[in-house]
């Protein structure tokens, strides 16, 4: 059991109010927020930083996380609504202002090079420091499948505090003791006859001088009325009428557009340009921006065409202008053979089998782009004031508001207090929108046209060629089998893995921290299997190719390596891949239940027609456990068709089952696009792919039939769902291809012949 200061504090509060008043004040200040914090307007009453009520009987919940399709607005609002007993049809959401109360504590922990399997003082201290760092940085960010995990206690606590205030307000208004009242479906009722004392809306003017106080214990799961139900999503109606405002839909008086061409090689920049025959109509200005050059004008389409056709740019080359994929793979192969590991981890005692047999396999995963459907964009306005100081306003689909604000201030040379960031809907995020490159470019453009909003938008080609890629990775698994005594037995396993670290690069490029050379935490998590012995050596190369957080981060390639090799081991030991995993998971009941559910629901073991095969894979990530069985056909010996995917997940308490299912399907399809098609290759220091025709995604015709099964292990540890659906799909498909064809594919994307 992990211990964090946050959990201890909240555990203390919700555990029955045993803590002193001083502690409550600290909690109120740090995580609950004052009653005027949340943009309280006339006709509204704030009940804490997380929720306010209105005279027209609405409940408005603060959602400081980015809605990028994962259903976060709905899920977080449900947490507050549950504990305050609001009616779902009276709940809406709003962005709160920037404040430390809304920081995301959980997000920092996954970046540490630790495995959730590990415990002990060092781990506790590291987690405590991460919690501390989140507090200091006040990081309002969305990622790492953390939103609900992070909000699970604070937002329910906020709901309970709100209910307590409403009860006391109603008591005072009606002159009835609190213990004769109850809250149900958005109204305060008399307990004895359920007659209505007041609606929430009628109490707006009664809250006034009441002080917040530690609420009674939160509801046990058995009393949930909203949590656990597939309530309709709050964001859906606007998204089917075209009314939803994404970053590209921001429009303001006087706004101009900017198209960008980024430097041809990574790390390059523009130092000059020549316009042939004057600027064409619709293009007003050319601005050199960090990493590239921008054309500003009244038509983005015109400005973009001018950038591509009519502008000569002088570029500096990046540090590795000759980089190509073949050379990079060779470098990685050398590192795999002789490189010094940045992290070594062992478990169990190595033994020397009397009659050993070595099984070795090397796996590769390529760089991947994110390609969210909404191309990268950011709108910025810089207003000069007397004395030169600038006020900066940003409208941006982003996953990292605090970082955007910090970089906008640095770029404009102003204080963070003078920067306001508005987060629009995100047309997909997947980790790409945690990066700060667009805000740098947008503020640079805005500085060139003071007072005017500038909307920087990249073409799809710029997006694919200037991403922060999922790292390419190379791994060699090795097992020693003991052949003595008849049937072969597993003696021990070891792995060497080479991959850049996105967390390292991110900290360096955003806040200038020195690179630590440590692997991404989730790339080095221990497999859950009870191997007799296990040894990991993680090598972290330096490199100029920008790498970032790609949905499920290190799990995305590591799950492919680990779960493919487990399958190879099963074959070598002449065991069924499902049965072999079961043996190794005997001491892990939650993992086992998930694995068995997926296998059962997929009809594991039932015969399939020739040319079809089933593959299974399991990966625990972001606090959840997911197993998938893929059913694959290879009709022509060449084309991999994924017909069916059966998925089981144990994510602990489920807030909204429909959203969990949707996120599993989403993670599967995203991972499948990568497994079947995704590959970014380099030549002459630049990315070779340009747009969907050569960096394709799964479409309806290729989408498998999916069935999702939620496994309830009664665990009270809440897990994430945005990412955990992605890691198992590539190995499940590769293992299914082996079952169908006898061919073991060890390189992503999966290609036969």
């Amino acid at each position: 059991m992990k211990f964090t200061r946050r959990k201890a504090i909240i555990g203390g509060i919700v555990g029955g109010g045993l803590l002193g008043v001083g502690f409550w004040f600290a909690y109120e200040r740090d995580r609950l927020g004052g009653r005027n914090l949340f943009n309280v307007k006339p006709g509204e009453a704030g009940l804490s930083g997380w929720v306010k009520i209105t005279r027209d009987d609405r409940v408005i919940v603060a959602v400081p996380r980015a809605e990028m399709g994962q259903g976060v607005q709905t899920a977080l609002a449900m947490l507050v609504a549950e504990e305050m007993d609001a009616r779902w049809d009276q709940v809406t959401v709003e962005d709160p202002p920037e404040d430390g109360v809304y920081r995301n504590v959980d997000i920092l922990i996954d970046g540490l090079p630790l495995s959730p399997e590990e415990t002990g003082t060092i781990v506790d201290v590291a987690h405590w420091l991460a919690t501390k760092a989140a507090g200091v940085l006040g990081a309002v960010a969305t990622g790492g499948s953390t939103a609900v995990r992070d909000a699970w206690l604070p937002m329910r606590t906020a709901g309970a505090v709100a209910r307590d205030l409403l009860l006391r307000a109603a008591s005072r208004k009606a002159g009835v003791p609190v213990d004769r009242l109850e809250v149900r479906d958005g109204a305060i009722l008399l307990r004895k006859d359920a007659s209505r004392v007041a609606t929430f809306g009628e109490l707006v003017d009664q809250i006034g001088d009441l002080a917040s106080r530690p609420p009674p214990p939160l509801k046990p799961a058995s009393e949930f009325r909203l949590i656990g139900k597939s309530l309709p999503r709050l964001d859906v109606p606007a998204k089917v009428t075209g009314a939803a405002v994404f970053g590209v839909d921001v429009r303001m008086p006087g706004m101009i557009y900017a198209a960008v061409r980024n430097a041809p090689t990574f790390g390059g920049s523009a130092y000059g340009f020549k316009v042939q025959g004057g600027l064409p109509g619709g293009v007003e200005k050319v601005v050199i921006v960090p990493g590239g050059i921008a054309a500003l004008g009244t038509s983005w389409w015109r400005a973009n065409r001018f950038l591509m056709d009519g502008l000569e740019v002088d570029w500096t080359a990046g540090p590795e202008p000759g980089l190509d994929s073949a050379g990079l793979w060779q470098r990685y192969a050398d590192l795999l053979a002789t490189g010094e590991p940045a992290l070594v981890r062992t478990a169990g005692a190595e033994s020397r089998p009397a009659e050993p047999r070595i099984l070795e396999a090397t796996y590769r995963a390529p760089y991947l782009a994110h390609t969210p459907m909404e191309p990268m964009n950011c709108t910025a306005r810089v207003t000069r004031r007397d004395g030169g100081a600038a006020a900066v306003e940003i409208w941006m689909p982003n996953q990292s508001l605090t970082m955007m604000r910090y970089i906008a201030a640095r770029t404009a040379g102003t204080d963070q207090a003078d920067v306001t960031v508005h987060t629009t809907f995100l047309g997909g995020g997947f980790g790409r929108r945690a990066e700060v490159d667009l805000v740098r470019q947008a503020v640079t453009c805005a500085l060139a046209v003071p007072g005017r909003p500038v909307q920087v938008l990249w073409s799809r080609e710029e997006d694919i060629r200037h991403d922060y890629y999922r790292p390419m990775a190379l791994a060699r698994w090795r097992a020693e089998l003991d052949l003595s005594g008849g049937s072969p037995k597993l003696a021990g396993v070891s792995k060497r893995q080479v991959a850049q670290s996105p967390a390292d690069q991110f900290a360096a490029r955003v806040i200038g921290l020195p690179a630590q050379g440590k692997p991404e935490g989730n790339a080095v998590e221990n497999p859950p299997y009870a191997f007799p012995s296990y040894r990991l050596e993680a090598i972290v190369p330096e490199g100029s190719v920008p790498v970032g957080f790609w949905r499920s981060v290190g799990h995305s390639h590591t799950a492919f390596f680990d779960e493919s090799f487990i399958d190879e081991l099963a074959v070598a030991l002449r065991k069924d891949p499902f049965a072999f995993r079961r043996e190794l998971l005997a001491g892990k009941p939650r993992h086992l239940a998930v694995l068995e559910t997926a296998a059962r629901e997929a009809g594991w073991g039932q015969p399939l027609p020739a040319g079809l095969g089933r593959g299974i894979a399991l990966r625990a990530s972001f606090g959840s456990i997911v197993a998938q069985v893929a059913e694959v056909a290879v009709p022509d010996g060449q084309t991999v068709q994924v017909k069916r995917v059966t998925c089981a997940i144990d994510c602990g308490p489920v807030v909204n089952p429909a959203i969990v299912r949707a996120q599993m399907e989403s993670g599967i399809v995203y991972g499948l696009s990568a497994a079947l098609y995704g590959e970014i290759t380099l030549a002459n220091g630049a990315v070779e792919q340009a747009n969907f025709p050569d960096y394709d995604a799964v479409r309806l015709a290729d989408a498998p039939i999916m069935s999702i099964h939620l496994v309830d292990s009664r665990s009270t540890h809440i897990g994430g769902v945005g990412e955990p659906g992605t890691p198992p799909i590539a190995p499940a498909v590769a293992n299914a291809v082996f079952a169908a064809t006898g061919k073991r594919l060890r390189t992503l994307p999966l290609r036969l012949g």
Binding site: M373, G428, S666, G667
Partner: protein, 153 residues
């Protein structure tokens, strides 16, 4: 000047003949439902109807719609929501939602031409990209919309 009908209203546009319809809608007419996704007619986020047929507006020069009728997601429902939009809400299709106007327009055009589509009709007509992977919900919703329109099962 290029003249065409958008969502039932005649519009006169002073734009280059080769400016794509998508950018005329978004930049000149402030109609923001059709989305930019790729610029090469590969993803379908920009799908609108031209004379009732689904087209990818990012690769269609505005000159080619002169005198024709363009309908965007904003003009799809004649009175309230179109059956496809209702089915989309009922089946809770959208995730990030960015590609959904394109899918909805493609689905509405499909159902007009093929009131009872099979799964393979749907696969063929809706070749758009959704990176959130809402495909199984889309399939359900198209069948549901067909039923709402009186055609499907």
């Amino acid at each position: 000047m290029i003249s065409f009908t958008v969502n039932g209203t005649v519009r006169q546009i002073d734009a280059e003949a080769d400016k794509p319809l998508l950018w005329v809608l978004r930049e000149d007419l402030d109609i923001l439902g059709p989305k930019f996704g790729c610029g090469v007619a590969a993803c379908g986020a920009c799908t609108v109807h031209v004379d009732g047929a689904a087209v990818r507006a990012c690769a269609m020069p505005v000159a080619s719609v002169a005198g024709r009728s363009v309908v965007t997601i904003e003009g799809l429902g004649q009175a309230g929501l179109h059956a496809v939009q209702k089915a989309w809400i009922e089946q809770q299709v959208p995730q990030c939602g960015y590609c959904q106007p394109g899918f909805i327009m493609a689905a509405a055009a499909l159902l007009k031409a093929t009131p009872r589509p099979t799964d393979s009709d749907i696969d063929e007509a809706l070749s758009n990209i959704c990176r959130c992977g809402t495909y199984s919900a889309i399939r359900r919703a198209v069948h549901r919309a067909a039923a709402l329109l009186g055609g499907g099962s």
